[in-house]
Symmetry: C2
Subunit: 342 residues, 2 copies
């Protein structure tokens, strides 16, 4: 008997300034595919929603292939192997796979890897022990290179990446400052996540003054997920030798930003001899194990906490994605597509 | 008998968007100072005019003390010691000294050093074998890190710094592209300086297209002295792993630039994982000898050429300074204040 497979297909590319939502996707129903030699069939349990996906449905120059109209929307999942034609993989294995927004998918590519359910809740394979956690780890430590006593400012500070970056900054003996966009996020940052100070960019009438108050000794490491007007304000406060770890530019996906470009005063880079560098997690594939082991150890020791916001049912994915880009989630945004194995 | 000393004093700070000129300075006449213990009295032969000086008369945050109203305008000179109370220095020595826009000055600070007149014309101590040459050397090699076969784009490419950076790029086996602002400069760049291609930003109707033509394989090293609209266009063409060696922001001194800030699309940094870093020559004081030896060797071998534009007489300094900021000079801008010793 054929297995039914629901899939979200891209209906049309959103305009650059448009927030994606249900109107850009079609929920299609098809027969689940069959694995070819070397592949497994994966039943999706959790689907990950991430800001980078916005770039995949933008028909602009990008670092990876975009999604074409009619194709399954891209996305990573944690799922269960239900059929295997790949050596080393068996029915019942829990895996990380890049199969997109659907109930079932086949894959055998480099992103397929087994998850150890004893290590941590399997959903963390998409967050702390997945791409967001690894991004925070390598982007902060390699590009930001924080030293004890330095001030580290993190934007999107309560998100899947930012929350881990902020906690690693604290582990490394830094003063950590959060920038986030709601009272609930600010409370989460200074409470559970342990940031030393937090700035609500939506509530703060004078961003520059708020940054000066939160970082009285200036900013040594600027871990930026956002770009936009916050970026512009932070670079006014860089210390000599400061590092900007440019991890993302979420503000460019937000149509409420007045402009996609940041009015950049290059003297703010020149005079403190600051360094800005762009980050892409794919460049760190060879060091994945190092990152996962460090993050898992900190998690077990209770030194890194990690929260998830879980939307229920594959059908909720487009709305949950819009919510993510609006900043409505706390921590990692997931969709529960199917039940965990008992 | 007291020695007469003419000095240019700052009369008022120019507005940020204003080009400095004679109206901002007063030519004063005083008695030459006498050297204290540890100092020498220097008679100015050549005065150096450099873009950084614009920043010194701007009452904004900066990396060095600004010049106050009524003070002698700051500047480095090559001069002759006419009296010495400093061990190791004698009357008749040719020295590099930071004594400002005047006929005579006393000094004993870290910038005082002897020049070997046998090595090269003494005026090169303010150019190729001075701060501009050292800036080109360290900023290109340390921040730009060019590799053979890469494409290096240099702005203010015919200037004292840019002309040296472009020639070092060629020595290192790179494709060197010049951006400059007049037909004469373009001819100088592709002729005497040996750039592979050159773009006249004042004559080019479509800067982006011109950059794409000149750099068909993209830009690996962007050596920028200017900022502004050229900067904005070049970052659209960065290759993966590109380096921006941010050496100066001359465009910010030019009132014809529409804005002091560059509208910066941070995706242009993020997606190619580019690195931008600000440069200041003072950070390289300990490596000065290494730079001077390399530059002098290339000069003697005829691998680096160096031109000077010389204004006659101390009284011409403010106008020559304005000309420099307008881009009217070719190569290093000097003022001949007094005769070389016979």
């Amino acid at each position: 008997m054929a297995i039914k497979n629901r899939r979200w297909l891209l209906k049309r590319h959103p305009d650059p300034a448009e927030l994606p939502g249900p109107e850009h996707f079609t929920l299609d129903e098809a027969k689940a595919p069959e694995p070819a030699e070397g592949q497994v069939l994966v039943r999706t349990i959790y689907l990950s929603l991430d800001p980078y996906m916005r770039g995949r449905i933008n028909p602009a120059r990008n670092y990876a292939q975009g999604v074409a109209v009619g194709e399954v929307m891209t996305g990573r999942v944690i799922g269960e192997v239900t059929a295997s034609r790949r050596p080393g993989y068996e029915r019942g294995d829990i895996v990380h796979a890049n199969i997109g927004w659907q109930d079932y998918g086949v894959t055998g590519d480099a992103e397929l890897r087994k998850i150890d359910p004893k290590l941590a809740p399997i959903s963390t394979g998409l967050g702390l022990l997945g791409m967001p956690g690894l991004t925070a780890y390598f982007c902060l430590l390699d590009l930001g290179a924080p030293k004890p006593g330095e001030t580290v400012l993190v934007t999107a500070a309560s998100g899947a990446v930012g929350s881990v970056a902020g906690q690693i900054a604290k582990i490394k003996g830094c003063r950590a400052i959060a920038v986030a966009g709601s009272a609930a996020k600010i409370a989460y940052c200074t409470g559970e996540l342990g940031y030393d100070a937090a700035i609500d960019y939506n509530a703060e009438p004078d961003l520059a003054a708020a940054i000066a108050r939160a970082a009285p000794k200036g900013v040594d490491v600027f871990f930026d997920n956002v770009g936009g007007s916050v970026h512009q304000a932070v670079i006014e406060r860089l210390n000599v030798g400061a590092r900007i770890a440019l991890c993302g530019v979420m503000s460019q996906y937000n149509p409420t930003e007045r402009s996609r470009a940041v009015p950049y005063n290059l003297r703010n880079i020149l005079i403190p001899r600051a360094r800005m560098q762009g980050f892409l997690i794919y460049d760190y594939a060879a060091r994945e194990r190092e990152g996962l082991e460090a993050l898992a150890a900190w998690y077990r020791e209770g030194r890194i906490k990690f929260r998830e916001t879980i939307a229920e049912g594959l059908e909720s994915a487009p709305l949950a994605f819009r919510g993510l880009l609006r900043g409505e989630n706390l921590g990692k945004q997931l969709v529960r597509v199917g039940p965990e194995p008992i």
